[in-house]
């Protein structure tokens, strides 16, 4: 494994019955970058993320995360890897019977059981504020929050252990433009201050332009192109062309020039 890569996927194949989602898919995520993953609906962006974080057993291929092969039979180092990444699911995936603060504390309690309650509370509030929620959200239950707030609370939980690697599944979907821009700025800032590597699934063209170092395009069961947006703009693949040069793509591009 190349030491500059945090994630390496080789020859990945995912199939649900007859339906093949990925076939011989390769992708690398470099240390310290924000990699945007785009693709039409149903091209398996979420399935790719689920494969990398070990929620989906692929039918073939190699996946290496932070130097650890998660698909082999040696499970010894897997927990160690889990404490070094954070995952934000689409809907936030908060534990509905715990308050937001307790949600944030779950990974901390799991890995560092001897932290005092006082420190846990302080960390929880600090992470909640960091993710852009007001402090009084800490005592609320997920059902009492709006969709956007739930997403931020999910981010607070994903950041609880100060991960090296952050997986974000459509973080700005469902947020208002102001909230989405703040979320982008936050992701960028976290990357810079904490040296995070971010694997970001998104449909949001503004997010792509604003924060992604590289963009990977999923189509035809594979990653058909990876590179900076300027490079992708030169691509003649019809889907990429339509994606970045369609009406929305042009507006987003103008906005960042």
């Amino acid at each position: 494994m190349n030491s500059g890569n945090v994630i390496e996927v080789r020859g990945l194949r995912n199939a649900f019955g007859e339906q093949v989602v990925h076939e011989n898919l390769n992708i690398d995520v470099r240390r310290g970058e924000i990699l945007g993953v785009v693709g039409g609906s149903g091209t398996g962006k979420s399935v790719l993320m689920r494969s990398i974080i070990g929620l989906q057993q692929p039918s073939a291929g190699e996946i290496c995360v932070l130097g650890e092969n998660l698909l082999d039979d040696d499970k010894s180092g897997d927990d160690e890897i889990r404490r070094r990444w954070g995952v934000l699911f689409q809907g936030g995936a908060l534990f509905s019977t715990l308050t937001v603060a307790e949600n944030v504390q779950v990974p901390l309690r799991e890995f560092y059981p001897n932290f005092s309650q006082q420190l846990l509370d302080e960390i929880a509030v600090s992470k909640i504020l960091l993710s852009g929620l007001p402090a009084d959200a800490a005592i609320k239950f997920p059902a009492e929050l709006s969709g956007g707030m739930r997403k931020r609370a999910g981010l607070a939980r994903a950041l609880a252990l100060d991960p090296e690697l952050l997986f974000l599944d459509e973080p700005t979907a469902g947020l208002d433009p102001i909230g989405a821009a703040k979320f982008d700025a936050l992701t960028r800032e976290l990357k810079e201050t904490l040296g995070l590597t971010v694997f970001l699934i998104t449909h949001d063209l503004d997010t792509l332009h604003a924060i992604c170092d590289r963009v990977a395009v999923l189509a035809d069961r594979q990653v058909i192109a990876v590179g900076k947006i300027e490079e992708l703009l030169k691509s003649d693949h019809p889907w990429i062309d339509e994606y970045f040069s369609g009406p929305r793509g042009r507006v987003a591009l103008q906005g960042h020039q």
Binding site: S116, L119, E122, L130, A135, D136, A143, T193
Partner: protein, 370 residues
């Protein structure tokens, strides 16, 4: 990989105490540093990060808090560390806000009061729900195009056909138990032959239908509550309403109709299987041959016993199905509530069935069907 975080003191050029943090100030290396820094007393002039390794937000928080508590200045922070310190400084907050807690005696009173209010309002809401289902039933009856036949038939399979095995086994064993226990007691009076009366009357009149209702409450009532409750959480019910589909007509009515139609069949089946079980025991243990058993059974079991069971069955079915659907529709917040409501559906259904059964027992006796 990381170096355990620690601290030591030195003296700064201006004579103030200099707290030098060493090691990596990251979550996996902090260990008990937090508690030791918390219990630190004595004036601290500077917090020195020159010896510190990596810093993450949790480490930065601890540094920032310590500096704030002792009014100390943070010095020699690396560029990344200063960025993080800036960030956590903005997040200064005193304490985790707390949910208001009542004193114990007040809380007990409050809980009793709440339980009473909840019980009463649930009862009224359930009555209202029964009303809704009945009006929906008549609306569908006068407008047959609205009947969701496919849904009803699908429930037939789930409620009825798939329950045949377990209800059969249960009833067979209950038949054996009644016969065996009855025989033991009646033998003392030399009246073993009355075991047949016991089997025939008990199963057709009471146990066949009652046990079936309890089994259906556990099997199907709980399933209804969980299905509908989950649909509530995923906003499927709201989606239905906005499309103009009444959840009562689309979800509750098919389930209720299927259960009402199947309960008499299942109840009768359960009674017959229980009689077979009892007959088998009589044959093996009391040496009453099947032919005699059947002949005697027909003599001692009045047809009214069969009617009693048959009249009760659809009513029990309606109660079980409606309790399940009603509780499912009461789910609002979270996954845990689905569990609570499912439990409530089964408890409520069995409770109501037994109350009604007691009422029927008195009622049928008083009209002379004894």
């Amino acid at each position: 990989m990381s170096v355990q975080a620690d601290f030591e003191f030195s003296e700064a050029p201006d004579g103030k105490a200099n707290l030098v943090l060493t090691g990596d100030l990251i979550v996996s290396a902090i260990g008990d540093l937090d508690e030791r820094l918390r219990s630190l007393d004595g004036p601290v002039g500077y917090v020195d990060l020159s010896q510190a390794g990596h810093v993450d937000t949790i480490g930065a928080w601890i540094v920032e808090r310590t500096a704030r508590e002792h009014d100390a200045t943070i010095v020699n922070a690396s560029r990344e560390a200063s960025l993080l310190l800036e960030r956590v400084k903005e997040q200064k907050t005193d304490d985790l806000p707390e949910r208001r807690e009542l004193i114990p005696i007040k809380r007990i009173l409050w809980e009793i009061g709440e339980a009473v209010v909840v019980a009463c309002s649930t009862m009224f809401a359930f009555l209202g729900f029964i009303g809704q289902v009945v009006t929906a039933f008549f609306r569908v009856l006068f407008n047959p195009g609205k009947i969701r036949l496919n849904a009803v038939v699908m429930r037939f399979e789930m409620v009825g056909i798939r329950a045949l095995g377990i209800i059969g086994l249960m009833s067979f064993l209950i038949g054996i138990v009644i016969a065996q226990q009855g025989a033991v007691q009646l033998r003392q009076f030399g009246a073993e032959v009355f075991t047949i009366n016991l089997i025939g009357r008990l199963t057709f009149r009471e146990l066949g239908v009652l046990m079936t209702a309890i089994m259906i409450a556990g099997r199907s009532g709980s399933a209804f509550a969980a299905q509908i409750g989950t649909m509530k959480i995923t906003e499927e019910i709201d989606a239905m309403r906005t499309i103009g589909v009444s959840p009562i007509e689309a979800l509750v009515l098919p389930r209720t109709l299927a259960t009402i139609l199947w309960m008499p069949l299942l109840g009768f089946y359960a009674s017959i299987v229980a009689v077979v079980g009892g007959g088998l025991l009589c044959w093996v243990a009391l040496e009453i041959p099947p032919a005699t058993f059947i002949q005697r059974l027909r003599e001692v079991t009045p047809i009214t016993d069969f009617y009693v069971g048959l009249i009760k069955a659809p009513i029990f079915g309606a109660i079980v199905a409606m309790a399940g659907c009603f509780q499912g529709l009461q789910v609002h917040n979270n996954a845990e509530e689905v569990g609570q409501r499912t439990t409530a559906a089964v408890v409520q259904a069995i409770f109501l069935v037994i109350v009604l059964d007691a009422f029927f027992a008195v009622f049928f006796s008083s009209i002379g069907w004894d």
